[in-house]
Symmetry: C2
């Protein structure tokens, strides 16, 4: 699943570890550093691990940058990464930087903990509900923002969205992608979560399918609600099948956690997250008896979301 769990030689402890690296997608290097850090840590948080013991940073610096570009951009990326690591209560000690044609940013997050500090993802039971902790649509928003400078593509979506909408959804996306899923990881313990995954490159349904396949019980996931960053559902529709946002396959970066929670605890979970982080979560579906399939119903309810940016 999202992190590997390796039993250690030291009595009862496990190593929980994950790595992730990717290419820049926003034009603000400091925010890009934060997003990369949040994205790596999210794999630990999906396991209910709330304390990361160490991070390594992996950086590929483009050989096509001028010295001046490099000296401007790289320290900002590093600062963003380190600042968010600090916010997460951990530190970046170690890593490597190489020259590469493309800029790459990523890291490794590691925790050593006893079994009660992480939550195996495979214990969903019939009657659980599915909670999502961030709205969908970051990829659509980032692309729409790029298209402001590409008239041909912009013409495809200008009837459904204004420049201001796009600028706003881009800011909202950067805010969301750089937001830690740490509070959710902590509350997974309080509210007896039965498993979780984080939503990234395969989209909501892609990751839901992966999670359901790892279930011990014969269950299936049915998703009824799709919280989406405001206007991005319309943009996705205007682009035809390109994003597959409402089909559940639009990639997210540093997306929310999808969590299986006992039904009677889910509302409290969402309320707690909102009061701690100021961010909404949503009950988006249910766990039913089934053959480990995940699906979105035919006409899901699209919830338009405009998070307040701090």
């Amino acid at each position: 699943m999202d992190s590997c769990v390796v039993p250690l030689r030291q009595g009862g402890l496990s190593l929980v570890q994950t790595t992730d690296f990717f290419y820049p997608l926003v034009d603000d290097p400091y925010m890009q550093g934060k997003i990369a850090c949040a994205n790596v840590l999210s794999d630990l948080y999906a396991m209910g691990v709330k304390t990361c013991d160490n991070m390594l940073m992996l950086l590929g610096v483009s050989n096509k940058m001028s010295d001046k570009e490099r000296d401007t951009v790289v320290p900002l990326i590093i600062r963003g990464f380190k600042d968010l690591a600090e916010e997460a209560g951990t530190m970046v000690q170690g890593g490597q930087t190489v020259l590469n044609p493309w800029v790459t940013i990523g890291g490794v997050a590691t925790t050593v903990c006893p079994p009660n500090e992480f939550i195996e993802p495979g214990n969903a039971v019939v009657g659980d509900v599915l909670v999502l902790t961030k709205p969908l649509g970051t990829q659509v928003a980032v692309n729409a923002h790029q298209w402001l400078d590409e008239p041909e593509r912009w013409n495809r979506i200008r009837l459904v969205v204004s420049e201001e909408d796009v600028e706003m959804s881009y800011q909202v996306s950067m805010f969301l992608m750089s937001k830690l899923n740490r509070t959710a990881a902590k509350l997974m313990h309080k509210y007896n979560a039965h498993g979780a995954t984080d939503i990234t490159g395969f989209g909501l349904l892609g990751h839901a399918k992966n999670l359901v396949q790892h279930q011990k019980n014969e269950v299936s996931f049915t998703i009824h609600n799709l919280p989406v960053i405001a206007k991005m559902a319309a943009v996705a529709k205007a682009c035809g099948n390109m994003f597959q946002l409402l089909q559940g396959y639009s990639a997210e970066t540093s997306g929310g956690l999808l969590i299986c929670l006992p039904r009677e605890q889910a509302a409290s979970f969402c309320k707690d997250i909102e009061s701690e982080d100021g961010l909404q979560s949503w009950i988006i579906g249910i766990v039913e008896k089934g053959q480990r399939k995940a699906r979105i119903i035919d006409k899901p309810r699209v919830i338009e979301v405009t998070p307040k940016i701090e």
Copy 2:
């Protein structure tokens, strides 16, 4: 130094962790996988850590490869990496693969251990000797091998080396680079090593300078002997200042450990390694009183080495 050491919340344990990734340098993907694995682990071995608890593999697959090339090359790299991890008594659990203009191969090695399982690198004392566990010259050999197909460059060295010599030194280099420094790590404990580093991109003297700067005592390193893969000193000389091999700056990949050992124990250390691994080590210098400088004497003794390939 070579690995980061992070004290853990669990009584007395530390996380020892390192990451490394680079670009292919040999044309055999299976061997390249082994070399990448040996290179990552070497940072742990330099800390006297002989047990790695987990490895992650980091792979960048070139977007310029055809599907067929990709399907042939990538599984071989992965197999090489995993095979050597197994030889090292560890496992590859986790990692990530991305598309990239260049092929990149690397990994993360992690150990959780009590303080007596690793050796801080900064405790050299006057009277210690410096031991090197692999000969120098891998970069020279790899380059010379490439030049077999580049007549202009080959002409620069053909007077000092035959095609057979170059082919042999290339095979020797692949063998050496894919050799684990694990026995050395184990014997560092038996023979009370006072610190070590592994020789990679900055060359022997580059890494010696780094190690000496981390010493607690006021010491300096003086290097008298340079064990070099047979003929590679002559090749390096024929290339002028290009490699800086005899100046100590020729890059190595997955090079040997440079270890500070009590003088009276160094010979036994070398003998033990040879009987366990079938590989020679050399006393190449001494630790003297000084201001944390490292140098190679004016006319070092060059030891021509032809290891027996298993």
